[in-house]
C-alpha cells in the first residue's frame, strides 16, 4: 500500500508525495515525540477502530481527517507549510476496562482555527472524521483550549457575578421553574403560572424548549402576559424577578424580532435552545451583550450525541464551547433528578462552567488543565425531576452558584403553585443558613428541613408529597478512571 518502505533515504522526501495511498501514520499524523505547544488546541478522542485496524493508524487517521489530510496523497500539500497544519497524534492509550477502544491525544496548531468561531472549530474537530469508515465509533471526550484561543471569544454576555448584581441576589442558589404543561396553555393561562410561582418565592420561571409560537399561544401573547406577571410579582415581593422568554425561532430575523420585543417589555432574560446551532448562539450572545440581557441556553438535543460513551461528543466539550460562545446559563445536570448525570462527571461540568482554572481531574472526566483567563462564569442550571426534599443533596453536590429549577416540584404542589414556590424557597434558605452555620447538611439535611417546615405548612406538605421520589438508575456516561458511583439517594 505504501511506497515509502522500499524507498532509498535520498528519495524519501519525494516519495512521501508520490501519487497514491499511504498510511496516515506515515504521512506525519502520528508523532509520538511531539511536545504540544502552549498555544496548541488539544483534542482527546475515544477511538474504536474496525476489527483489524491498528489503533495507532486509526488515531493518526483521525488526526489527518480532522486537519489537512484526504484519503490520498496530494502534491499541493507542498505549496503549504504542511508540517504546521497537520494535526499530530502524539499519544494513544488503551481505555481502562474497555478492550478495543483507545484514547488518542491530538494536537492542532492554533493557525488551523478562525478566531472566535465555534462553527469553525467544530467543523474541523467533529467534521467529516466522525463518519470515517475504518472507525466503528468515535467520541470527542475533552479539549484543551489554549489561552490564546480562549481570548478570541467574548465569553458569557453577563456571567454569574454580574447576573447576581443585576438581580440583587447573593449567597444562595437561584430558584426557577419551567411552566407546565409545556404545551397547550394560552398566553393568559401561562402568565398565571408565572405570576403564582414568582410571587410565591421563585426568582425565575422558564419557557420550555419547545414553546415557541404555536397556534395555542403566539409568542407576542406569551411575552405580554408573562411581563405583566413578572412586574406584578416584583411589586408584590419587592424583589427582582424574571422569566426566560424563549426566542428560539425558525430564522435569525425572527429571533432578533422576539429578542427586541422582550427587551422593549423590560425582560431581564431571554432564552435559546441548543438546536439553533453554534453560529446562532454566538449571534444571540453578541445581541445579549449589547442589550444588557441575560442569555439562558436550554441544551435541547444534546443527549443525541452526548449520552453514549462510545460515539459522539462529551457534554464537557459542549460546556466549554458554550462558555466561549457567550451564553449565561446552561443546563448541566442535577445528579439526583430524572435526567442522565453521574455525580463525578457532573461535577466536572460544573467546574468548567464556574472556575477560572480547572485542573486535570480524571475522576471527574477532565483530561486537561483548562485555563479560562478571566472569562466570565457560566451559571449552571439544575432542572428535571428535583424537589424540596432533596435540597441538602442539591446544595452539597452543586454548591450555591446554580439555578435550581423545580418545575413539577413547584406547580405540582397539592396546595397550589404559590405554596410550591414558598416550600422550595424556605427549604433553600433554611439549608443555606444551616450550611453557613457549619452544620453537616448532607447528614442533617432531613432534620433541617423538618425543623424549617414547622413554620412553613407548604414545606411540610411538599416533604410529605415527594418524600420518597428518586430516579435511581445507572448513568451511561461515567468517568473511566474511578469506581463508578451513580446512585442517587
Amino acid at each position: 500500500m505504501s511506497t515509502i518502505e522500499t524507498a532509498k533515504p535520498a528519495e524519501k522526501k519525494r516519495d512521501r508525495y508520490s501519487a497514491g495511498v499511504m498510511e496516515y501514520r506515515k504521512m506525519g499524523y502520528w508523532q509520538p515525540d511531539y511536545e504540544p505547544k502552549e498555544t496548541d488546541v488539544i483534542a482527546l478522542f475515544r477511538v474504536t477502530p474496525q476489527d483489524g485496524v491498528d489503533p495507532i493508524e486509526a488515531s493518526a487517521a483521525v488526526a489527518g481527517e480532522s486537519s489537512t489530510a484526504t484519503w490520498t496523497v496530494v502534491w499541493t500539500d507542498r505549496l503549504t507549510a504542511c508540517d504546521k497544519y497537520r494535526a499530530k497524534c502524539y499519544r494513544v492509550d488503551p481505555v481502562p476496562n474497555t478492550p478495543g477502544s483507545w484514547f488518542a491525544y491530538i494536537a492542532y496548531d492554533l493557525d488551523l482555527f478562525e478566531n472566535g468561531s465555534i462553527a469553525n472549530l467544530s467543523a474541523s474537530i467533529i467534521g467529516n472524521v466522525f463518519g470515517f469508515k475504518p472507525l466503528k465509533a468515535l467520541r470527542l471526550e475533552d479539549m484543551r483550549l489554549p489561552v490564546a484561543y480562549v481570548k478570541t471569544f467574548d465569553g458569557p454576555a453577563t456571567g454569574i457575578v454580574v447576573e447576581r448584581e443585576r438581580l440583587d441576589k447573593f449567597g444562595r442558589p437561584l430558584l426557577g421553574a419551567t411552566v407546565k404543561p409545556k404545551l397547550g396553555l394560552s398566553g393568559r393561562n401561562y402568565g398565571r403560572v408565572v405570576y403564582e410561582a414568582l410571587k410565591g418565592g421563585l426568582d425565575f420561571t422558564k419557557d420550555d424548549e419547545n414553546i415557541n409560537s404555536q397556534q395555542f399561544m403566539h409568542w407576542r401573547d406569551r411575552f405580554l402576559y408573562c411581563m405583566e406577571a413578572v412586574n406584578k410579582a416584583q411589586a408584590a415581593t419587592g424583589e427582582v424577578k424574571g422569566t426566560y422568554l424563549n426566542i428560539t425561532a425558525g430564522t435569525m430575523e425572527d429571533m432578533y424580532e422576539r429578542a427586541e420585543f422582550a427587551k422593549q417589555l423590560g425582560s431581564t432574560i431571554v432564552m435559546i435552545d441548543l438546536v439553533i446551532g453554534y453560529t446562532a448562539i454566538q449571534s444571540m450572545a453578541k445581541w445579549a451583550r449589547r442589550n444588557d440581557m441575560i442569555l439562558h441556553l436550554h441544551r435541547a438535543g444534546h443527549s443525541t450525541y452526548t449520552r453514549q460513551k462510545s460515539h459522539g461528543v462529551s457534554f464537557r466539550v459542549i460546556t466549554k464551547w458554550m462558555r466561549l460562545a457567550g451564553v449565561d446559563h446552561i443546563h448541566a445536570g442535577t445528579v439526583v433528578g430524572k435526567l442522565e448525570g453521574d455525580p463525578y462527571t457532573t461535577k466536572g461540568y460544573y467546574d468548567l462552567c464556574r472556575e477560572d482554572f480547572v485542573p486535570q481531574n480524571l475522576a471527574h472526566g477532565i483530561f486537561f488543565d483548562q485555563p479560562w483567563a478571566s472569562t466570565r462564569k457560566l451559571m449552571p442550571v439544575a432542572s428535571g425531576g428535583i424537589h424540596a426534599g432533596q435540597m441538602h443533596q442539591l446544595i452539597d453536590l452543586l454548591g450555591e452558584d446554580v439555578v435550581l429549577q423545580f418545575g413539577g416540584g413547584t406547580i405540582g404542589h397539592p396546595m397550589g403553585i404559590q405554596a410550591g414556590a414558598q416550600a422550595n424557597r424556605v427549604a433553600l434558605e433554611a439549608m443555606i443558613l444551616a450550611r453557613n452555620e457549619g452544620r453537616d447538611i448532607l447528614n442533617e439535611g432531613p432534620e433541617i428541613l423538618k425543623a424549617a417546615s414547622r413554620h412553613c405548612l407548604p414545606l411540610r406538605q411538599a416533604l410529605d408529597t415527594w418524600k420518597d421520589v428518586t430516579f435511581n438508575y445507572s448513568s451511561t456516561d461515567t468517568p473511566d478512571f474511578v469506581p463508578q458511583v451513580t446512585a442517587a439517594e
Binding site: 440583587d168 441576589k169 447573593f170 411581563m227 416584583q234 419587592g238 424556605v426 434558605e429 452555620e437 457549619g438
Partner: protein, 139 residues
C-alpha cells in the same frame, strides 16, 4: 407585606445569635462585612446608605455586631438594615452574601403603575408607597 430581598427573608427574623453566625461565616471566608440601611426598598435601589466602611480588618463577629447595634440605635424601626459581605477574590470581586437584619414595623409595599402605550404594550413602574414621603420620614 414583607419584602423578600436578601438571602433569608423567607425565614422567621433571624436572632442575633443567628446573625452573628452568618457574619462569622463571612469573616472566616475572608470577606469584608458591611452594614447598610435605607428607607427606600425599591428592588432596584442598589445603593443603600453605608454605616461606615466595609469592616475589612474585623476578625470577630462581635465587632460587627457592635456596629450593627449602633446602627440599630440610630435607624431600627424606621429603616431596613442589611448585612453584606464583599469578596475581593479575582473573578468575583463583588457581594457574596446579603441579608436583611432589620425592617420597619409596618411594610406598606409597592404600587404597580401601568401606562398603556402603543399596541398592547404596557410600561410598568414599581413605586414604594413609602417613597411618597421624603427620605427619613417614610416609616
Amino acid at each position: 407585606m414583607r419584602i423578600t430581598q436578601g438571602a433569608f427573608s423567607f425565614l422567621p427574623d433571624l436572632t442575633d445569635e443567628q446573625i452573628a453566625k452568618q457574619i462569622q461565616y463571612c469573616i472566616n471566608n475572608g470577606w469584608a462585612v458591611n452594614i447598610e440601611f435605607t428607607d427606600d426598598p425599591h428592588p432596584r435601589n442598589t445603593y443603600w446608605e453605608l454605616w461606615g466602611l466595609p469592616m475589612f480588618d474585623v476578625k470577630d463577629a462581635a465587632g460587627v455586631m457592635f456596629e450593627l447595634n449602633e446602627c440599630r440605635k440610630a435607624y431600627a424601626g424606621r429603616h431596613y438594615i442589611r448585612v453584606s459581605a464583599f469578596d475581593a477574590t479575582h473573578t468575583w470581586e463583588s457581594v457574596r452574601l446579603s441579608f436583611i437584619v432589620n425592617r420597619p414595623e409596618n411594610e406598606p409595599g409597592f404600587a404597580l403603575e401601568r401606562q398603556e402605550v402603543d399596541g398592547r404594550n404596557i410600561r410598568y413602574t414599581t413605586r414604594p408607597y413609602a417613597a411618597n414621603q421624603p427620605e427619613g420620614a417614610r416609616y
